[in-house]
Amino acid sequence: MVPVAVYFGLFFVVPFALIVCFSFWVDSNYTVVHHWTIENYRYFASQSVYVHTMWSTLWVALASTAITLGLAFPFSYWLARYVPRGLQKLLLVLVIVPFWTSYLLRVYSWLNILGDNGLINTTLQKLGLIDQPLSLLYHRWTVVVVLVYLYFPFAALTLYSSIDRFDWDQLLAAMDLGASPVTALRRILIPQIRPGITAAVIFVLIPILGEYLAPQIVGGTDGIMIGNQIDEFQKYALYARAASLSLLVAAFIVLLLILFRRSLGTREAYGA
């Protein structure tokens, strides 16, 4: 336990404590002054724009998570149930392959897909379906699309590992007893893979709440998320402001995690 405690203390507790301290200090002339104050928190509470941005961020995160899981679940189900074992590994590798390229490259590539002269607009214009390019970039939903693409592998792999352990005979038994396929899925499969679903939600939703590069590149002024605002403070060496806003976001995430544990009954997932 001691090595783990030391490791955890050094690489998590100490840095976190430093951030907490910074959040209660003051930025002045590019210096963090060690004057204890709640001024940063008071400022954020007084500015509705940050609350509004947080809600926008949550909206983007929830929408992205829902769509990602909506796409990942049927994919994982199909992969686990219908694809031969040998081919499963290959398809799983294909899911992971995007991680072999740079994150930035993957985000920038969407400019070439969604741009006015991008793949989609060019194709539609060549097919004669549109005369003028569609405005596909620099909207909030553009950020959602790109985040779904970025986080799909996280959800797919997590759900696959859960679904792969499921005893399919139970579904057959349920249908033998008169349940429709959808009912069997809903009442037999879903409850048993709930920890996997919860894990997938956490692996997708939590990181998205801190995203700032994808919104910066494809979101335009409509796609700004709370991470972008933290980044602006950081860039201008306003570390106290950045720390306090980061802690507010972290507190929000902790609250979400607590709700996850309670509302989705994940105690069994943690061995309780």
Binding site: Y43, G223, M225, K235
Partner: protein, 375 residues
């Protein structure tokens, strides 16, 4: 002309590893021989490695290799973030860095804060390659010394597509025209955004506004916001947006029009707003806490004397250098027209612009930017 690029294949990597292992034994002897050839006075540079906090467009790896061969001084460049982060990094890390780049008014600010030391610029061999105006930058003078070695410069102007922008936007207020809704791009820099707004609203020193001036600038930015398509992270995004005509107007460093043209985009024109231009010029400073101050001049002289790389720097990064000898090389290479299009021979231009520098209210500036552009 293109800079040297040696693609590194796996076979090459293995070969180089084997050669390196065999060569280590000969290294000591050859090093001693080189030191002897350089003369006894240079023996103190052997084995010295300088940490250089600078921007990516201030050096080439091959340039540093040449300096290592010439002087025995190695260098580990670390890519610098913003001026404010460089300032806080130097202040908090003490002697970790030996050389730090900064812009314009940040240089005297860092010097006044006791973070840097001035040096005899005009005594350097490399300084003879500089334009006279660059050897005598008033705000960087410390007696007969200079606080920094000048590198490059640019003003920030308005570029527009005349196909869509029928009236030349020669005023910042022209950018507020509702006809430009979601048609303007600019780089992600709160201080410069607020500085533009300061120019538009009559701030005395755009980069160093008072609180009432910042409030007026914020109000102006709120009017501008509907017209901003995107706040970009890199200049090439401005170029791409103008190229594919998703944006009609972009604010940027010199040469955006030429870059759009080189990228196959439409003709782009430039407008110089009547309220004045923002601008920057940067240079390298000797960090006061550095343990290798004695080799700073030797190192900088070697790096900055490499005229070939100064000329390559202009060609690759597309902004004028203060190096006059590099201009002559560019002319010889057939790039006179291109260099002249960037006002390369007019370094005095930058000293008339509103220069980038620290603000008395940095927090208020970032607050204003975030409050306007928050989601």
């Amino acid at each position: 002309m293109s800079e040297e690029h040696t693609p590194l294949t796996r076979a090459e990597l293995l070969k180089r590893g084997g050669v390196a292992a065999a060569g280590l034994s000969a290294f000591g002897a050859s090093n001693a021989l080189a030191a002897t050839m350089r003369g006894a006075g240079a023996a103190s540079t052997e084995g010295v490695t300088l940490a250089w906090l600078t921007w990516f467009d201030h050096f080439f790896p091959q340039q540093l290799k040449t300096t290592l061969k010439q002087t025995g001084i190695a260098c580990h460049p670390k890519l610098a973030p913003s001026d404010s982060e460089i300032y806080t990094t130097i202040r908090t890390t003490g002697s970790q860095f030996d050389i730090a780049a900064m812009d314009a008014l940040w240089v005297p600010y860092a010097h006044k804060s006791g973070l840097t030391e001035s040096f005899d610029l005009n005594g350097m061999k490399a300084a003879k390659q500089l334009y006279p105006a660059a050897r005598d930058i008033a705000i960087w003078k410390d007696g007969s010394n200079s606080m920094a070695y000048p590198n490059g410069w640019s003003t920030i102007q308005t570029y527009y597509n005349p196909k869509f922008v029928k009236t030349k936007p020669d005023s910042y207020d022209a950018l507020l025209d509702p006809a430009y809704k979601k048609k303007i791009v600019y780089e992600n820099s709160p201080e410069t955004f607020v500085a533009f707004a300061g120019l538009a609203t009559g701030a005395k020193v755009p980069y160093d506004q008072t609180l009432p001036e910042i409030a007026r600038s914020k109000a102006w930015l709120e009017k501008l916001k509907p017209n901003i398509l995107k706040i970009v992270d890199q200049n090439f995004e401005t170029v791409n947006a103008l190229k594919d005509q998703s944006a009609w107007i972009g604010l940027g460093n010199l040469g955006v029009d030429l870059r759009v043209k080189a990228a196959g985009g439409p003709p782009i024109k430039v407008a110089y707003p009547k309220e004045g231009l923002l601008g920057w010029f940067d240079g390298e400073q000797m960090v006061k806490a550095s343990k290798h101050k004695d080799v700073f001049l030797t190192f900088m002289d070697s790096v900055e004397s490499q005229t070939y790389w100064a000329a390559q720097n202009f060609l690759k990064n597309g902004r004028p250098m203060f190096n006059e000898a590099a201009y002559k090389l560019l002319v010889k290479w057939g790039y006179k027209k291109r260099a002249d299009a960037f006002n390369y021979t007019k370094p005095d231009t930058i000293f008339k612009a509103h220069l980038q520098g620290p603000a008395r209210n940095p927090q208020a500036i970032t607050d204003a930017f975030n409050e306007v552009f928050g989601g």
